[in-house]
Symmetry: C2
Subunit: 408 residues, 2 copies
């Protein structure tokens, strides 16, 4: 088990308990509040929560019951991230209604802000169209561990990301079935099916996100991931998938899809997930965390415990473009002083997926600082410095993602 990167801070363990228990915990139910757990000491590795017990434990870092990271050494080189190694990040504990996963085709979605508002069962959605979208699913906070001001929230390094294939119905096909959007709508607003404890202001707890209406182009309502029915841990029975956007925008167990003139009034939209300056209070005036930027990192070698044999070393990793495809990738074996082009290998799964890359280097005994930086089709190159922000979102600094390896 790797050491938890969450040094000096512990996440609240949110169990998938009853609504009553949730009500009691509601104030701290957002796993990213990062408040210390007064009842627990020690730093022993946590075990997988029951709803994700089918994950490959050896590949995962369990930060809390709602935040589970893929180890950097567990990504493999096959482009697709196996579902049993994919990270989990829930804003509140997942619903515990067992029937919803037993009869996923009966799950219903309300559609509004359209010419003919109505509800659809998943079974009905399955008659409207089919799309399979390979894409990077990445948490807004992936890379938070490297922000020097130690933002609250899970201290993810690289493993709150994966490249998977979601399968479902295009939102555009759904819109066709409801006579199109109502006039003047600016946002697509999705609401999760998490139960709202009685007596709480729903806006403080509701998982509801709005994205610009342009996202309908590639968005789908998914019931499948990597060839399997979408499990609860990843938002089954039905999840909206907004390719190119950070994970929080792809709402799990979606119950309502609304085309709206305003952004959601929920706290998770209004003040969370904003580009707020360090030390400032988050405000709806701050830019929202939506689109992913160009990014890359090395997966092999990356294990600080491992010594690599001197001589020819094959360096490999992944590169993604964000809203456009990754176009090229460079590697440095001396901490970013000199850069050389690396090669993409394996299939190109389209602009929202990541690419595998490989670079062969002759490395002598000693310590080497390996870095990589990607450039996308829009011409953006991964920057050396992260974009500072209060909550530690969207870190794509190549320097932060460097690995130091021992060669002997």
């Amino acid at each position: 088990m790797e050491k938890l990167t969450n040094s000096g801070r512990r996440q609240m363990l949110i169990s998938t308990g009853s609504i009553a228990a949730m009500a009691g915990l509601a104030g701290v139910a957002r796993a990213d509040l990062g408040k210390p757990d007064p009842g627990a000491g020690g730093t022993a590795p946590k075990s997988l929560p029951s709803y994700a017990s089918w994950k490959d434990a050896d590949s995962m870092i369990v930060h809390s019951a709602n935040t589970i990271e893929t180890k950097r050494t567990a990504f493999g080189s096959s482009v697709i991230t196996p579902t049993n190694r994919l990270f989990v990040r829930n804003n509140v504990a997942p619903p515990t209604d067992a029937s919803m996963m037993k009869e996923p085709d009966s799950w219903t979605l309300e559609v509004s802000g359209v010419a003919k508002p109505r509800s659809f069962t998943v079974a009905e959605l399955k008659t409207l169209g089919l799309a399979a979208v390979p894409m990077v699913l990445q948490c807004s906070g992936n890379g938070r561990a490297w922000f020097p001001h130690k933002p609250s929230g899970t201290q993810w390094t690289v493993g709150a990301a994966g490249c998977v294939v979601f399968t479902g119905v295009p939102v555009k096909a759904l819109l066709e079935a409801v006579g199109g959007m109502s006039e003047g709508m600016v946002y697509m607003t999705s609401t999760g099916g998490e139960p709202i404890p009685q007596g709480l202001d729903p806006n403080t707890i509701r998982v509801e996100r709005s994205v610009p209406i342009s996202a309908i182009e590639d968005a789908i309502l998914a019931w499948e991931i990597n060839g399997e029915a979408l499990p609860l841990a990843h938002g089954g029975p039905l999840r909206i998938i907004v390719p190119g956007y950070t994970g929080v925008n792809s709402i799990k167990y979606i119950k309502q899809l609304a085309f709206t003139k305003e952004q959601s009034p929920a706290k998770i939209q209004q003040t969370s997930y904003r580009w707020t300056a360090v030390g400032e209070k988050p405000s709806p005036k701050d830019e929202s965390i939506w689109e992913l930027p160009v990014k890359s990192w090395i997966n092999f070698p990356s294990d600080p415990e491992q010594t690599v044999a001197a001589g020819r070393v094959q360096i490999s990793g992944i590169a993604m473009g964000g809203m456009t495809a990754a176009k090229s990738i460079e590697v440095s074996v001396n901490g970013g002083k000199d850069w050389q082009k690396a090669e993409f290998v394996g299939p190109d799964l389209g602009k929202y997926a990541w690419r595998e890359f490989v670079f062969s280097a002759d490395l002598a005994a000693g310590t080497h600082e390996l870095a990589c930086r990607a450039t996308n089709e829009a011409g953006d190159t991964q920057p050396e410095a992260r974009r500072e922000n209060n909550r530690g979102y969207i870190n794509n600094s190549w320097r932060d993602h460097m690995v130091s390896i021992k060669v002997a």
Copy 2:
């Protein structure tokens, strides 16, 4: 659990036992001999053998310990077949040396028929190059269940196939490291690491296959499947992957890779896997079973137990081209009388992968015969009739793959 399709015939259960046990079973150790098991009656579903116990039992049909099929309803629509749903087919029981999977990087491969013959550990192979190849892995006997003369062997319908990503080193990169092939070589011959029981003629049991030298273009030596270390059940620690060829040519636990002037003298090369006429004795003069042809089938709806709601029905399935990409796909909802173009959906993973397709039809109450037929880039269209052969190899008849569905 679906009914076993292996009607009227039972497969010998080969356990992953000791060499001594194997020697005792050697005469029937090839799972495709199809001899009745004199000690067993009934037709109860068999359970997964220990080396494949991690498979998703609900998705599999266990014909025998060495022949495990994916259910037609378990393919999903995400192009990639999850490893825990991928079929298994071993010609003899897999090796049981536990150390080989504990230290996969120490597994060695002998390379001969090259300028500088030598052996490589997997760790060494990992420094030579990297490729990730999406491809259909398909057993030569997939579709055998529909041959009217009831060939011996496992009665596969569609599930001895999957589309996966294998990752490893290109054979061409390996050849570069050994100074190239010796002169005049015509075949690439791979030998599996299965133990050969003492006192037996190795050629009767050895899993060794030769393919035309042209296969080096795209062949790789793989240590990973779908992002995970290649498990024993699929040929780990190291398997040669010959894209476009039937599964038997991609030798598991490969110990020797030889470039040769002649085909292997092993029985599995000389007389098995040949296009032998029905009722004839197999001969080395018969054409070898190598390349896969164009093929497609419908996965949804395909469950004969299920009644589909009348109205708009989304018909989906997969299409593969064989040695060239699938170019187009047609669907018939009246048993092949009329055909209409269907649409490919999801990512194009290259010529050796399959494509997902979808077709929307309005179906009234009643029984409907659904068929599909693919055409590849070479211009080959999937035929109505299978190519008859003694052992029931390579069935790509669209009529055999039709499904009859109930609509109400």
